[in-house]
């Protein structure tokens, strides 16, 4: 359940960029499939943390990327949505991970003109 710590890290980062907390409409994030983060669990935690810390009840939009891997047996570069997708050409799991562990807060959308 490190998603709770990660949700708090997200609000800390957002608060720092915005110079304080304000009600948000949308929060856009990116999660890689090899990051070890459960999007559902993060959504559950973030909803509570955002409300508690004064960011309102923003919609959390999660972009789930594909991992980039390189097969160490046949040198093919391929993409995978999860750990257990081997090389599409030779089936091997012998591979090097090029990307897929990313987890970023990309942007937030704030409602304006509501006062």
């Amino acid at each position: 359940m490190h998603e709770l710590s990660l949700a708090k890290d997200m609000t800390r980062i957002i608060g720092k960029v915005l110079g304080g907390c304000k009600p948000l409409d949308t929060v856009n994030i990116t999660i890689g499939p090899l990051s070890g983060i459960s999007p559902e669990s993060l959504r559950f935690c973030f909803t509570e943390v955002a409300k508690m810390e004064g960011f309102g009840e923003p919609r959390l939009v999660i972009t789930e990327t594909e991992a980039k891997l390189i097969c160490l047996d046949c040198d093919a570069e391929y993409q995978a949505k999860e750990f257990y997708q081997g090389c599409p050409l030779c089936g091997s799991f012998n591979r090097r991970i090029l990307s897929g562990r990313e987890f970023t807060v990309d942007s937030v959308e704030i409602m304006e003109g509501t006062d």
Partner: protein, 222 residues
């Protein structure tokens, strides 16, 4: 009252682990500067992390120091001190993992100046999931799996077992009593992680400990 509602987009473009990774880099710089080789030891609760460290403490003596991570109590640090090593306890107070900031704070309480000190072991909170996402500034991530946990665990926890450099299989003294296929574990771990090194040990009886400790000594003597 204004009816003209528009949305303003503010770019954040920040990796969430940035703060942790900054502390990890600072820990790594500090420890590398003092020529202290550091491991991050990760397993489920009860796999034998502290018993492994006690056994290592008997091998390395004052060359080794330990940071213990637990949700509560300083029982483990006490055990390590009794085994003859410097130990600092982090009580996370509920958190399921150590982060690099907590380790940074712990380093400030430890005596790192001894010329003898060459190995720092960080025992993470017992958990196969959350600790895998946090770089603590270590040189080596070590996963520990014990026989009673079962030989089907590797593929259930890919985030951890794909990131470790060394897998230690512990409680080998129980092999005659438990259906546990050591080769299955090794094969499945290599399928996630082709370069992983594997050691089979019993921290309790000492079986295999010399090979593991010799390997570590070679790492920090290089």
């Amino acid at each position: 009252m204004c009816d003209d509602i528009t949305k303003q987009t503010v770019n954040i473009l920040t990796p969430v682990m940035n703060k942790n990774d900054r502390f990890a880099a600072s820990n790594r710089e500090l420890l590398n500067g003092k020529i202290i080789y550091t491991l991050n030891l990760i397993s489920s609760p009860g796999a034998g992390k502290t018993t492994l460290l006690e056994s290592m403490a008997r091998f390395f003596g004052s060359k080794m120091a330990v940071i213990e991570g637990d949700v509560q109590t300083d029982r483990d640090a006490e055990r390590i001190r009794k085994a003859g090593c410097q130990a600092w306890q982090i009580e996370t107070g509920g958190s399921c993992h150590l982060d690099a900031e907590a380790v940074n704070h712990a380093l400030g309480h430890m005596d790192l100046e001894s010329d003898e000190l060459a190995l720092l072991c960080i025992e993470n909170v017992g958990n196969l999931i959350c600790p895998s996402s946090y770089d603590l500034g270590e040189n080596l991530k070590v996963g520990l799996l014990s026989l009673p946990e079962g030989d089907d665990k590797i593929l259930k926890y890919p985030s951890l077992f794909s990131r470790i450099s060394v897998l230690v299989i512990n409680k080998m003294d129980l092999l005659p009593h438990i259906d546990f296929d050591v080769n299955r574990v090794i094969d499945e771990c290599r399928s996630l992680n082709p370069e992983v090194l594997v050691f089979t040990v019993s921290a309790k009886t000492g079986e295999g400990m010399e090979e593991f400790c010799d390997f570590l000594e070679n790492q920090f003597s290089d």
